[in-house]
Symmetry: C2
Subunit: 252 residues, 2 copies
DNA sequence: CAGTGGTCTAGACCACCAA
DNA sequence: TGGTGGTCTAGACCACTGC
């Protein structure tokens, strides 16, 4: 054992190897990866070393462990993690709301291919003018009384290359959350995101889409989302109404 | 070894014992706790079991490990963790800004003892009418050109009991961040917090204190902060100007 | 140099799951 | 029943710190 080519702990090297396999798509989302013993023999290390590598990947939400069953590649399709990246929740955040799976309607208002502006290109680590997919959509929540409230307006820019063939039709016919669809249809797994939050007023057009007045304070949430290896792949600007909902955060 | 009175992993029991010692103040913030070997003999378990318990406490930011030196009780006084609970950062978030330690001026506008309202009491797990300390303050940032901008307005309610003797003078004379002072003077260590974020407009009074117009959109950040064992001990409502700063968040 | 945390191993046993 | 992850141990060695 103990190959140590460059100097880093063995388990970090194993972690990098597993990461590479994930990235290469050797194991797809929701599939099981080989057992700890198999990985140990494959990499010629002890089970404990594999365990530590897998522990870290599980802590970063790239893998999911299930005792007695195996270790699985994280997926956005699993029921309880669909809202992993959506921090806007109802003010009466009761079990009820979670049970009812929050009837959300997604309306795509725009979907086309564009040339990246300097800002977008920089955030996605592309060159200005490179092809990107632009999407605008509105999320509308329906409460128990049947009242519909447009609540979230999103402008989304996706790196063009990984999303060849994405268009309005394919978006519209997908009923799954967007990240679950990206994963299933394009093999793009969102793993991490940074957000910057500000309070703003909407423009005329934005106000119309959210059915609010232009002097309504809204949250503007600017997100950059990453796949494996810190590769930025999506820029997303969300406008959130916070009259009956709030952005929740836990500080540790 | 292997006592297992109730059923939970040994390392969880060890973790609970260490937590109890922290809570009881056996080891003060910034002090070293006993070495892993000492703890192992003290609790009659192997070093590996202690290690796993300490690992989890370190992951939760209750302990800090330093190779070759020891394991230390987390503190809000340490230079690089002073802003652990303040997520509002400059838009040009460069090294410079961090270096310069962001000249902040804290102005206490109010400090008195009050009877808890129903809302505050509930959040702090007290009874309506119990004694609480109320503080209002303004944080003003000074940039390199010497321009001062009042940026954060905070209303703070503290559980009365742990903060006996806290008054305007003691607050005013403390130059350290508030949580560092709480820790040093009252033995209260903030460990975790939940925040709810909305976009709002300020009232007349709030607008005056932040030197903005009443139609300026602001972030309202409602925080409940906890000590050991998930005991709520502070309710804090912040109003943040986001014209040159933003609330940053990392999603995983 | 001695003492601390960090890594790695090998092996035992437990808890959970499915067939 | 056999396979999976989860716990626990004992011992070896490494890397960092400070005297």
């Amino acid at each position: 054992m103990q190959t140590t080519p460059s100097f880093s702990p063995l388990y970090q090297q194993i972690k990098a190897l597993i990461l590479r396999s994930l990235q290469a798509g050797e194991w797809k989302p929701a599939e099981a990866i080989p057992s700890e013993m198999e990985l140990a023999t494959r990499y010629s290390v002890s089970q404990g070393t594999v365990r530590k590598a897998v522990d870290e990947l599980a802590a970063e939400n790239l893998l999911m462990r299930r005792q007695g069953k195996g270790t699985f590649v994280a997926t956005h399709s699993a029921r309880h993690v669909q809202t992993r990246f959506l921090r806007l929740v109802s003010d009466q955040n009761n079990a009820e709301t979670l049970e009812q799976a929050e009837r959300v309607e997604r309306t795509i208002t725009t979907c086309n291919r564009q040339r990246a502006t300097a800002d977008i290109a920089k955030a996605l680590k592309l060159k200005t003018g490179d092809s990107v997919v632009y999407i605008q959509r509105v999320l509308t929540y329906k409460n128990a009384s049947g009242v519909s409230t447009p609540t979230i307006l999103e402008d989304i820019w996706l790196a063009g290359n990984p999303f060849k063939g994405l268009n309005l039709e394919r978006l519209a016919e997908s009923k799954a959350p967007m990240y679950a669809m990206f994963e299933a249809e394009f093999g793009v797994n969102m793993v991490r995101a940074d957000e910057q939050i500000r309070a703003v007023n909407p423009t005329q057009e934005q106000a119309a889409l959210l059915q609010v007045k232009t002097d309504t304070p809204l949250l503007r949430v600017e997100r950059i989302a990453y796949t494996y290896n810190d590769t930025p792949i999506e820029v997303r600007t969300g406008l959130y109404r916070t009259d009956t909902r709030h952005y929740r955060n836990e500080l540790q």
